[in-house]
Symmetry: C2
Subunit: 247 residues, 2 copies
């Protein structure tokens, strides 16, 4: 099995955690989609990450991939059992993928970290301040109402997909300098702390730190040295591609 | 059961078709989200349609709602059985929700039909021409490669969620003046024709035509007269709200 995409992406991170929860072995091609080659377009028509390649099956979209892993493989469950619980789990995940994808990834992480590196574009300080002071607090108010009670584990007993997804997005918020205020959103802060402490999630933080601290050139080697199984060939190139589809 | 949202929206239309396939009875509150009240924000934090209210359960997101209906109720299946087929079905649906949502709904239907009505904003003819001549043909090339062979039914035997979803988006393209060129995309044109001819889908076209041909003021009464069960109270107001979340 091959996973294409850098686990710094919250969408890749949740698939990497899901694979670990299923006890599945895989090779990683940790590309940033902006540098994807034309071969990448062929396996990912919207030029998004992650892509999972499992034999003949080429799958796009982190939610679709995680549902597939949950249905095709044994191991820890990624969704609860009862239809109404499954629906609530999926809706919290969708809220994160969609709303936090917009607010945390595009308007905060991309604007602060990626745009200056990839496109030599200066961050828009006013827009970033608005995200930090209005949009993210507004999303956190909604998340706080969904979060498990203080010291009460996860949303549905054990850690599952919606817990992982919410925590994954707030890693990117943190990498872009936004930490959750535990006085204002105490349940969320404690809940995300519990997710980050789970060994399968903690491992992705170790990997993320290696990626964050190495240049693109040295990254594969540094990850290999740290025990990550890196794919022999890559879907990533060295020049940013003009066409990047978002939304 | 209550469905909030106008079935002219492809996201609402697929839920309405799914409910019919499950043989479920429901009341409809056919609002346009731009006119949603503050009570609407409470049941739909991203101010999107559809919302399904099933007893205590309030669900957002058309994909989440359809997965719930498929898991909680008997009737015609909305997804195939094998994990790899289910994954492919979900990915085609996600491609439509995401890419056709952007291209067909926001950049074509919204720009052509909704913006002039709701916001008195003139359509941008150049942007709309680019959607018709570049973005939609590009998406149709990908869809043509997924479509069933000519005269060969649906993607997975009987009509299911990905068939319904693709056809729903192309209703909005048609309402905005874009018809699929059957010479250029013959499989897609024939496939969508088959979906539109299924009675549960054809019924949504009948409802769509009533909505399209009546003013907001007369709509509920016209739908009631045509046999649609309309909710007694509405989450829609008369003034467009400033805050509309997209993406």
């Amino acid at each position: 099995m091959l996973i294409v995409g850098s686990p710094v992406s919250p969408y890749v991170r949740k698939v990497v955690v899901a694979l670990a929860m299923k006890g599945l072995d895989y090779a990683l091609d940790p590309i940033v989609p902006f540098y994807g080659t034309e071969a990448f377009t062929r396996i990912s028509p919207l030029r998004r990450i992650p892509v999972l390649i499992d034999g003949d099956l080429v799958l796009n979209d982190s939610t679709v991939i995680c549902e597939y892993l949950d249905e095709a493989y044994p191991g820890a469950p990624l969704l609860p059992k009862a239809p109404a619980d499954r629906a609530r789990a999926r809706w919290i995940e969708e809220y994160a993928d969609s709303r936090l994808g917009d607010v945390v990834i595009w308007r905060l992480f991309f604007a602060t970290i990626m745009a200056p590196r990839v496109y030599q574009r200066e961050p828009d300080a006013d827009a970033i301040a608005r995200v930090r002071e209005v949009d993210l607090p507004h999303a956190l108010d909604w998340i706080e109402a969904q979060a498990p009670e203080a010291d009460r584990g996860f949303l549905f007993g054990t850690m599952m997909l919606p817990d992982i997804t919410i925590a994954a997005f707030f890693r990117n918020a943190l990498l872009a300098g936004f930490a959750i205020d535990a006085d204002r959103w105490p349940r969320t802060a404690a809940w995300i702390g519990r997710v980050e402490a789970e060994p399968v999630f903690a491992e992705t933080i170790r990997v993320e730190q290696i990626i964050f601290k190495t240049s693109t050139r040295d990254r594969a080697e540094a990850l290999r040295a740290a025990g990550v199984r890196i794919a022999a060939e890559s879907y990533g190139g060295t020049v940013p591609q003009a066409r990047v589809l978002t939304g």
